[in-house]
Amino acid sequence: MTTTLTPAEPVKVPSRRSADLLDGVRRWAGALVGAVVIFSALLLVKGADPIAALGDMVASIFTSASIEQIAIKATPLILAAMAVVLPARTGLANVGGEGQVIIGAVCAAGVGLAFDSMGPVALVAMLVAGAAGGALWAGIAAAMRLTVGVNEAVTTLLLNYVALDVMLYLIYEPWKDPNGSGQPATRPLAVAARLPLIGTTAVHMGLVIALVAAVLVWLVLRGTAFGFRLGVTGGNPEAARRAGLPVKRLLLTAMLLGGALAGLAGVMQLAGVEFKLRPGLTANIGYIAFLAAWLARHKPLPAVGGAVLLAVISIGGDSLQLDSGLPAATVNVLMGLVLLAVLGWASKGTGKRTDALR
C-alpha cells in the first residue's frame, strides 16, 4: 500500500501549469461541493433545514468581528499545521499535535505564572518554554521510532491523552486558582505578559509569528540544503542512507522542530486567547491542524490556506450552534467530510494503479 507522504512535488513543465491549476481548482471545487451536499443530507436526517443552517453559517462569516475571530482561530492552526508539514517531508506522520500544543501551553503557563510580573521578558521566556515543551513531547515519539521502531502515528496519538491528563492534573491541583469560581483553571496571566494586539484590531501578534513561521518553513524546505535532505529522506530513506545522509538525525530534527512549532501554537492560545490554563484550552487544535496540513498535501503555504479554511468552517460552525441549535461538534462532521472528499477525490495520486491491488 502507498502512504502518500510525498516529498517535494516533481518539477513541472511551465506550459502545463495553467492546465494543472485549472484541473486542481475543478477537483477541489467538486470535493467541497460533494462535502457540503453530504453534510446537508445529514442535517436533513437530523430534521434541521440545511439551506437555512448553511445560509446562516455563510452570513455569519462575513462580518468584521467574524473576520477577526477567523484570524485568531487560524493562528494556532497555522503553527500546528507546520508541525505536521515539517515531519511529513521526511515521511513521518505527526498526529501528536494536540498533545504537543497542550504541553507547549503547560510549559508556557509554568513560566508565565512564575515570572509574569516581568512583562514582555516573561512573554519571550514563555515562547521559548512552550517551544521546548512541544519539542520534548514530540521527541518522545521520535525517540521511540528511532530506537525501537514503533510507528510515530501510534505513539503520538497515545501521548495526546497523557498530555491532557498532565494538564488536567496541574489545573485541578497544584496550579488551581484559589480565587477562581466555576470550572477549575489557573489564575490569569498579568496583562503585560500577554501577546499584544495588532493595531486597533482584536487580533493578537501571534498571527504575525505564525505567518513568519510558515514562510520560514517554506523557505527552509524550498531553498536550503537541510530542506533538500529532509525531502530526500522522505522520498527514499534507503537511498538517503546510502548517499551518506544522517537519516536518523534528520528524522529527529524534523520531529523536534515540528513539536516546537506545535508548542508555540499552545503559547499563542494561552498568551493570546485564553490567558489562563483551563480544560478545553486547545479545542482540538492539533487534530484540526493535522487535517489542514493534509488538505494542502503537506505544502507549507497552501497549508496556511488549509488552516484558514478550517478556521472559517469552525467560526461558521458557531452559527450552527447559535442559530440552528445544533450541537457544537456538528462542525467536526463538515470538517471530516471536506477532508475525506479531498483525500478521496481531489488527489492526484490515483493515476498509477498498482495491479496487485486490483
Partner: protein, 304 residues
C-alpha cells in the same frame, strides 16, 4: 478482595477494547491500518444505545453497532484501497467524523434510559471461588468475547478465508497471480474489523456504562490499535492485552472504593503510559512479526 475486583473489572472493562482490537487485528492482518477504530467504536456505541432505546432490545442494539461500525470502516476501505488515500490521515479523519456524527445524532440520547445487558451468572461456574467472580458473572457480550478471540485465531489459521486474508497482508501480489483480488479481500477485512469495533462500542454503552455520552470511548480505540502491535497481531495475545488494560481501568475505582486517595489524573493516564512503555520494551521484537504489507505502511516506505 482488591485483587479479584481488579481482575473482574479487567474482564468487564476489557471487553470493549478486545472487540476493537480484534477488529483492528483482522484489518491489519490484511495489510490495512485503521486509526478510525476509535470512530467505529464511538459510532457503534451510539448506534447500539440508540437502537436499544428505540426497539427495547439490546441484542438488536449490538447488531446495529456492528452495522454502523462496519459502514464507517467501509468509507476507510473505499478511500485507502480504491482511492489509495493515506491510511493514517483517512483513519484519523474518520475518528473526527465519528466524533461529529455521534455528537449531532447523539444529543437526544444523553441521559435517556435504554434497556441494556445485565450480568448473567453462569450456573455452577459462577460459584467457583475467585475464578467464578472474575470470569463468570458478566454480561452476555463478554461471554461472546470469550469465544470471539479463539474463533478468530482458529479462522485465521485453518480456513481458506483466513489464508487469503493473511496473504493479502503478507504478499498481495501472490494473490493477484492466482486470480484473486487483494483489494476486495482487504476491503472485506476492513469492514469486518469495523463491525467488530462497533460491537465493542455497543458493549461499552449497553453493557458497561449503561449510558451514552459524547466521546465515551475516550481513546479506547487508539489503545486497541497499539495493543494489536504489541500483541504481535495474534488474537489470543490481544485477549490477554485487553484484560491488562481493563485491569488498569478498573484499578482506580477499586482503590478509591477502599478509601485510598490516589491521583485521579495519574490513574487516567495509566493505560496510555502502560501502552507506551510496553511498546518501547517489546516494539522491536514484535515489529518483526508484522505482516509484510503492513510493515511498509508503518515504515512509510514507498510501495513497490
Amino acid at each position: 478482595m482488591l485483587f479479584v475486583d481488579v481482575l473482574a473489572g479487567g474482564v468487564r472493562g476489557g471487553t470493549a477494547i478486545m472487540f476493537g482490537a480484534l477488529g483492528e487485528t483482522v484489518s491489519e492482518r490484511a495489510g490495512v491500518v485503521n486509526l478510525g477504530t476509535e470512530g467505529c467504536m464511538l459510532i457503534g456505541a451510539l448506534g447500539g444505545y440508540a437502537t436499544a432505546a428505540e426497539t427495547g432490545s439490546p441484542w438488536l442494539g449490538l447488531l446495529a453497532g456492528a452495522v454502523v461500525g462496519g459502514l464507517l470502516a467501509l468509507v476507510h476501505a473505499l478511500l485507502v484501497i480504491w482511492r489509495r488515500a493515506d491510511q493514517f490521515a483517512t483513519g484519523l479523519t474518520l475518528m473526527f467524523l465519528g466524533l461529529g456524527l455521534t455528537s449531532l445524532y447523539g444529543a437526544t440520547y444523553v441521559g435517556k434510559a435504554a434497556p441494556g445487558f445485565a450480568p448473567v451468572n453462569v450456573p455452577l461456574l459462577a460459584d467457583i471461588p475467585v475464578i467464578g467472580e472474575v470470569l463468570f458473572r458478566h454480561d452476555p457480550v463478554t461471554y461472546l468475547s470469550f469465544v470471539a478471540a479463539p474463533a478468530l485465531w482458529w479462522w485465521l489459521r485453518n480456513t481458506k478465508g483466513g489464508l487469503l486474508l493473511r496473504t493479502a497482508g503478507e504478499r498481495a501480489d501472490v494473490l493477484h497471480v492466482h486470480g484473486y483480488r487483494p483489494g476486495l479481500i482487504r476491503g472485506r477485512a476492513v469492514v469486518a474489523g469495523g463491525a467488530l469495533a462497533g460491537i465493542g462500542g455497543a458493549q461499552l454503552s449497553t453493557a458497561y456504562a449503561h449510558a451514552w455520552f459524547e466521546g465515551m470511548t475516550a481513546g479506547r480505540g487508539f489503545i486497541a490499535v497499539a495493543l494489536v502491535i504489541f500483541a504481535a497481531w495474534r488474537p489470543i495475545w490481544v485477549m490477554a492485552g485487553s484484560y491488562l488494560f481493563g485491569a488498569a481501568l478498573a484499578l482506580a475505582p477499586a482503590l478509591q472504593a477502599r478509601g485510598y486517595a490516589l491521583n485521579q489524573f495519574a490513574l487516567d493516564a495509566l493505560p496510555f503510559v502502560i501502552t507506551l512503555v510496553i511498546l518501547a520494551v517489546l516494539g522491536k521484537r514484535t515489529l518483526r512479526a508484522a505482516p509484510e504489507e503492513l510493515r511498509r505502511v508503518f515504515e512509510s516506505a514507498p510501495s513497490k
